[in-house]
């Protein structure tokens, strides 16, 4: 079932996944480019802390990536939230 009606707050829950903690990863990230109505693509690489947040039900899981070794030029932050299915673990890459 969808998680909410548009007027209700979205159920959000935070947690910690020890399996992911400390893993080096890449994220094929991105978001909307508002003025142009289209999506942008952004690449990140860094270390997952293991912290996650689930948005809605069924849960849409996001992991926190820190110690960024690759990020878009000028990216102003030291960390990024990455959608779980957009993450590629570097040390498990075939």
């Amino acid at each position: 079932m969808p998680s909410t009606s548009p007027s209700q707050p979205l159920p959000v829950s935070a947690g910690f996944d020890p399996e992911k903690a400390g893993k080096r990863a890449e994220c094929d990230g991105g978001g909307p480019a508002v003025t142009a109505k289209y999506a942008t693509r952004e690449d990140f690489a860094g270390t997952l802390t293991g912290e996650y947040v689930d948005h809605g039900n069924p849960p849409w899981r996001w992991y926190l990536m820190v110690d960024l070794t690759r990020k878009p030029e000028g990216y102003a932050w030291d960390s990024v939230w990455c959608e779980s299915e957009s993450i590629y673990l570097i040390d498990e890459r075939k």
């Binding site: 991105g30 909307p32 942008t40 299915e85």
Partner: protein
Amino acid sequence: MAKNPLHTKLCDMLGIEFPIIAFTHCKDVVAAVTNAGGFAVLGEAMHTPDEIAADIKWIRSRVGDKAFGIDLVLPASVPPTGDLNELKKKIPETHWNFWLDMKKRHNIPDPKGQVALHQWGGLNQEIARKQLDVLLEERVPVICSGLGNPAFILKTAHERGIKVFGLVGKARQAKKEAEAGVDAIIAQGIDAAGHTGPIGTFSIVPECVAVAGDTPIIAAGGVTTGKHLAAALCLGAVGVWTGTLWLASRESDNDMIIKEKLIEATADDTVYSDCISGFPMRILKCAWTEEWAKPEAPKVLPAPYQMLLSSDYIQAANDHRRPDLMTEAAGQGVRFITAMKPARQIVFDMVEEALATFEELTGAAAE
């Protein structure tokens, strides 16, 4: 009689006549293409959940039981904070001055109303999730994810009879989405309009076909003619995803000035530039792109700063309908758009040319 080469797995999956998908932000184009035997997807990333629900009802009133899709931009990464007003304060003075000087030299007026970007407020997980919930609630026939991996929603969508498509720019994304169980994957090349992956259509399509197993691949990027459609099928795709093609159609709600610019444009009139949003995207050249390409221009800012800087320009250009200032995302196939045709005619012309191409190649007549 030879098998009809245009009757693909995609036609069976969606109950359509031709394997042509129109991506558009205009509801009238959705209705026209759907009723002509193609498939259409309405881009709704910028809309509120209520607006999306209203659009779905409108489309259903025009196409009946025929299948259509809604595209959302599911974010795949989000910065820890994202207050637009705070971000705007961080834009360097040199960049504001460059914009103000350009504004004076090109006699660019102020926007007439509030800038849409500033009212919209951005897209985070919560807003995207609520948009998605409307699509599930309304049981839209196809949900398309224009960016992020839609794996988390697959089970719920499939339980409701909804198909889910994902758009990718790299083969590894296609592999992951195929393994998750998406119903089809759109492989988009750098030839496309807007923000794209770094790989050309002729390479990304067969790469994705090779890694996606039984999951059908749809080709995107520069697809504008029947010959492109035929070529895409030869690359292993089951259909094509087209965007620029519909921007100058009779039904399109684009400004006539933009339609005229698209009809006159060739690939050389497009530019792959990061000066609008901070990310490279293919658009029609305009005063803004020309100014930022000059050697004396400051370095383009990263997203989201550059799009905050460009938003006044874009809004002013559209509000005042200045042909020299206005721009639109456009793919490299734009030169093949030569007239303002009805969407139905565009579908039929594409089909006719594709069939003729196959006939030329094989010497066999299609059914």
